[in-house]
Amino acid sequence: MSHSLDIQAIRNDFPILNELVNGKPLVYFDNAATTQKPRLVLDALSGYYEHYNANIHRGIHFLAEKATSAFEQSRHRLQAFLNAAHAEEIIFTYGTTDGINLVASSYGRTFLKAGDEIIISTMEHHSNIVPWQMLCEEKGCVLKVIPINDEGEILMDEYEKLLTERTKFVSVVHVSNSLGTINPVKEIIAKAHAVGAKVLLDGAQASSHLTIDVQDLDCDFYSLSLHKIYGPTGMGILYGKRDLLNAMPPYRGGGEMIKEVTFEKTTYNELPYKFEAGTPNIADVVAAKFALDYVDTLGKPNIAAYENELLKYATEAVSEIPGLKIIGRAKEKVSVLSFVIDGIHHQDIGVLLDQQGIAVRTGHHCTQPLMNRFNITGTSRASFAVYNTTEEIDKLIVGLHKVQKMLG
């Protein structure tokens, strides 16, 4: 598949790409950690503060109206982005982690009990492990882990073996941040539903690469962060099916989430406000819409096609580096290239590439159990976004040769 994008024009949309690092033009390959932001999003942020900053849902004055309207427009924009059936199924959060905690805390504490089983996979981010461990500790639930193969793919037959009538919840990553693996989530969801379990997808990585349709997937919850989709930091959304969200108690108490408060009894607001206590992150929510507009202007299929070209190019190019081993060779993967090199610590790779102006991520990528599965303490990870180029990948290869020479 070919793309129809003008990459140079796209690069010009991202002011940060003009930065020099250690005197060299920045090569930013840490997109799985967070993507850079286009001018459009930066302008939306300052535009909000310059022209219509106000608290929302409360004032009747002009600015409050305008801010409220922009805020709610973002909700509708995100509804469309995920093809959710209803706007109130979109809950604003601080990010993926926050959304998972909301579900573990509100749904988990209400509907799960001792002996119930929760299934996650070996490749989960710590943010999709720890909240469930905390719940298990509190409620006496049992955490089960789906194993993976050496390529970094979920073993579906092992998953099926774990599914029983005791399984009440399945929470898996849609796309792995450390390996790039795209998991067969539709099948995972269908199988979980067959035993009556609910499913949450950690969409932190998937949302910038794949087209997501929560109705088609039939997932019960979907959590993501906008900062990984060219949007601002500190905001994300939790999608949840309306009936489930309605049945769940609020997660945090405060302003905005109430209908009426007396000292004897408080009644809660409706969805989505029930889960949005306090003044939300208005500026970033407003700007998020512009990030999604930007993505849609380029076209997600175009972005995916181009990123796949970059991945293929890089995968072939690194094969010439002696002693380099790719961690994560799934058939279905996004533009994440994780690797280890014989005899070289990943931190040295990170420092020496950084000094050449190349930003990669090194370490365990918040997936320590996954690193243990591969018997390593960490990897170096180059993750590509739409503004990266094959010339930059060439620089990475030159950089890696230099690293080997320096340490040899």
Binding site: I344, H345, Q347
Partner: protein, 142 residues
């Protein structure tokens, strides 16, 4: 020599190099020259916590001065280089001088970022550990 005299001498060595990568190469080369330590020190007890790679550090107190022994796992050459520089500067100094040392050299050799970013660098942990020894032994003296 005092801590600062040693630092200044090392800094002038580093100033022979203009490029950051060459400075780092020098750090790596210093690490390669670090004498091996006894295997008995390569245990969890001597491990510096907070490093991404394994670095061990032991201290001996003799005649009012602290002497450091350190090493890093063979693959982690920058960490090894950094601990060797710290040992060059701090080993054989008085505990209170170690505890109060201002290690401005790290900024000058381009490793400042590793001191401040707690996550990426074990350098901060190494410095903290050495200064910690300094503090403990300076209190013993009184």
């Amino acid at each position: 020599m005092t801590i600062n005299e040693i630092q200044d001498e090392l800094i002038s060595d580093f100033e022979l190099f203009d490029e950051q990568l060459d400075k780092t190469q020098y750090i790596i080369d210093l690490g390669k020259k670090l004498p091996p330590i006894d295997e008995k020190y390569k245990t969890d007890e001597y491990l510096i916590h907070g490093c991404q790679s394994k670095v061990w550090l032991a201290a001996e107190f003799r005649d009012g001065r602290l002497y450091f022994l350190g090493d890093g796992e063979p693959t982690a050459q920058i960490a090894k280089g950094l601990i060797s520089i710290l040992i060059k500067i701090l080993s054989g100094q008085k505990p209170e001088d170690i505890a109060n040392a201002d290690l401005y050299i790290m900024e000058r050799v381009g490793m400042g970022a590793l001191v401040t970013s707690r996550r990426s660098g074990g350098l901060a942990a190494m410095i903290q550990k050495m200064k910690g020894f300094g503090t403990v032994y300076s209190q013993l003296e009184v």
